[in-house]
């Protein structure tokens, strides 16, 4: 039926075909939203939706970073503890700088957070690449270390932010610009920058190359270690951005801040279509994954069919279903 002559000039037909596998997380999100609307009419209220999206911002922002790490062939289990640690350091430095800087302490503290977060990521990355140790093990270790540090710094209690800063800092979580909450704006910025880095730059190309095959990348002159370390740094930076948006919400860092977030983040990334074995990263998918998790929690709270204590169970089931769906859409 098709001629095999002059094959190289064949039009690039495949591009037009809809790639269902890539759309899956968005379709799933739409389905869950529709279900939510059917279950409880309050679900679709602007207020509730904004709330859900705002709350999902933290996981979404961290998941963008995790997309880099996972696409490059790594894994970071320490993001939850790192988040708590960065939050603690940030609040402590803001408090320390209040007398000298007044409200500017917020900006300075945010700067400190970004530096500390990036350094935490660098630590993970260097141990993984220079020490040549499985990222799973390394970040399992640093997960414990960061968690212990925040517990130590807070003496088992909490590190509250200075009263004088509350008012000025509040809008970063609760405020909005043209009706869009700041955390959501922040997420959009992170998505835009992340997508640019991953899809448009040479660095992004090298991330996927290193993730698809360590050997091929090495044999092609790619500095696999550097590329991977950088992915961990990006992850740490994203954690710091999330921490900056998160602090005004609760006003303190505690030993339970960010607990189990690593699971939510990895779940978001995986249901978003990024492969755990590396080599492909889907930033928007990861964000859709974060939204899915938050919407499910919200729908369960709004409806009284299932106890909200089971939220984690449902989220756990989702990751398994997502992987099964992936298996079937990919089977040729």
């Amino acid at each position: 039926m098709s001629s095999t002559a002059d094959i190289t000039a064949a039009p690039e037909k495949r591009r037009q075909g809809i790639r269902w596998g890539e759309l899956a997380p968005f379709i799933a999100l739409a389905v869950i939203v529709i279900l939510g609307a059917l279950i409880n009419s309050n679900f679709l209220s602007a207020n509730n939706l904004l709330n859900v999206v705002t709350r999902s911002a933290f996981i979404a922002i961290i998941a963008v970073g995790a997309t880099f790490v996972i696409a490059s062939g790594g894994l970071d289990l320490s993001v939850g503890s790192m988040m708590a640690f960065v939050t603690g350091i940030m609040i402590m430095s803001m408090n320390a700088m209040v007398p000298a800087l007044g409200n500017w302490a917020i900006l300075a503290g945010a700067g400190v957070a970004l530096v500390v977060g990036s350094l935490c990521g660098l630590l993970n990355g260097v141990i993984v690449t220079v020490g040549k140790i499985e990222p799973f093990i390394v970040t399992l270790g640093t997960m414990g270390i960061f968690r212990a540090f925040i517990t130590f710094l807070s003496d088992g209690g909490s590190i509250p932010i200075d009263r004088s800063l509350r008012e000025a800092y509040r809008p970063v979580y609760f405020g909005d610009f043209l009706g869009i909450p700041y955390p959501v704006l922040m997420t959009i910025v992170v998505i835009a920058v992340g997508s640019f880095l991953l899809y448009r730059t040479k660095y992004g190309r090298r991330v996927t190359a290193a993730g698809s095959s360590d050997d091929v990348a090495r044999f092609s002159g790619v500095h696999v270690g550097r590329v991977r370390t950088m992915a961990f740094v990006i992850q740490g930076f994203c954690v710091a951005v999330a921490a900056i948006c998160y602090v005004p919400r609760l006003g303190a860092a505690t030993p339970t801040t960010g607990q189990l977030w690593e699971l939510q983040v990895i779940t978001a990334v995986v249901i978003g279509g990024t492969l755990l074995r590396g080599g492909k990263g889907r930033i928007l998918g990861s964000v859709a994954g974060a939204l899915i998790l938050e919407v499910i929690a919200n729908v369960m709270v709004l409806s009284d069919m299932v106890s909200e204590y089971l939220v984690a169970a449902v989220q756990g089931a989702i990751i398994i279903i997502a992987m099964l769906a992936h298996r079937f859409t990919n089977a040729r």
Partner: protein
Amino acid sequence: MNAAVHALAETTALPVLRAEGLAKAYGPITVLKDVTLDIRPGEVHAIIGENGAGKSTLMRLLSGHARPTAGHLEMDGTRVDFADSVQAEAAGVVLVHQEILLAPDLTVAQNLFLGRELTRGLMVDDRAMNRRTAEVLARVGANAHPADIVSDMPLAQQQLIQIARALLDDRKVVILDEPTAMLANEEVEALIGVVDTLRSQGVAVLYISHRLEEVEQLADRVTVLRDGEMIGTWPASELDQRQMAELMVGRELSMLYPPKRGLSSAAPLLVVKDLSVDHGKVEASFEVRPGEVLGIGGMIGAGRTELIEGLMGLRPSHAGSIQVNGTTIARPSVEAMMHAGLVYLTEDRKGKGLLLRERLAPNLTLQALDSVSPGIMLDRAGETRALREAVEEYDIRVRALTLEAGQLSGGNQQKLLLAKVMMTDPSVVIIDEPTRGIDIGNKSEIYKFIDALVQAGKACVVISSELPELVGLADRVLVMRGGRFVAELTGEEITEQKVVYAAASSRDRTGGRAIA
């Protein structure tokens, strides 16, 4: 045009496997059409054709690894429909893939029995598995121990392990897709012995190879595919190598090897002094001059690939000094070498050469990314342009530019890999097994390419296990044995016998690390 299928004495034998009007399309792309083929018990049936002709596809259809879009299979006269390769294997049809598909971190025995482990009670019976593994390894002439870890072995040994795996159980049809592409002469001899034994036991062997001398020597019948179509089946005795080649490409062929260039006396482009790789396992010094093709010969495991990987900083190595194009390289790395003008094309295109799940353009530009996209951003348009040019220049047969590298036929992957390293505009090119899996027409293209390269004042180092290639191509040959260069041959001295003689020492026939 279905050429006459010649009547042979044994035509009366009922075919053990029969393909009837077999076709395969991937989406809109038809890669195989209307193949009707009889496979008889006790015959060695060679399938030949150009790269991308559809040989591997046909074999996958016969062995349940892919399902036909039209046509069907018959075994012993009854229609069969293999849902997957497990069913095909149960029916006695097994395919040994062109590419290595083994679990790299498991032992040889664990790989052979993967999924069908022998047990005693609840426990796996390692002793029995190791014993049977040792038996079958001996049968295929593999120099390995059942407890060796696969990833530690040279590719050739891994290939033999794959073959051993297929022969573990009794088979009716054994399909070997380019089994000898990675083997050196000695292993090829052993493999031919195995095939002979299978034939005498009444097993049908389907045999794909681009080495036509093997086909001539081994096959009873030969089927030729061209562009997904079956050209015909002939008794092997009626065809010589030249006729086979011309049936494959559909035109007359010119000389295979370009004329030699003679010795060069210009200042060397590459000077390597006292390079020691893997803590002394391989040690060598050598030079390459502009305008010459330096061949490196030796048996599998002699350390040729290790030498070059060490030179490129891809293995632990230490050198007295390395100079490329007059630049001294203090710490060798692929990147430093590339900037100085030296590139290396690996023998392991699947494992180390190409990202199989990526599209063609990212693969092509991965190494030369900085020159294709000088800024921090990717130049997508530039990449597509580069791909079109490469497809044109290297005659890469792709049916769509958006395919993934893993969807190209083996030979076309090799051409893509060549295009990839040439993107960096090197002055010294080291090619490990340049024509592995490449058909005869393209072989002569690659030889012409190498010739043009050195004519332009560049230099080329060729590592090859194919003796005729080494002898036909090189102006100078260094022979490696046991990690050391043991002979240098030039001009008239370069003959197959001399290379073999130097490569095989009386004391230690394997020379390398094959025996643990």
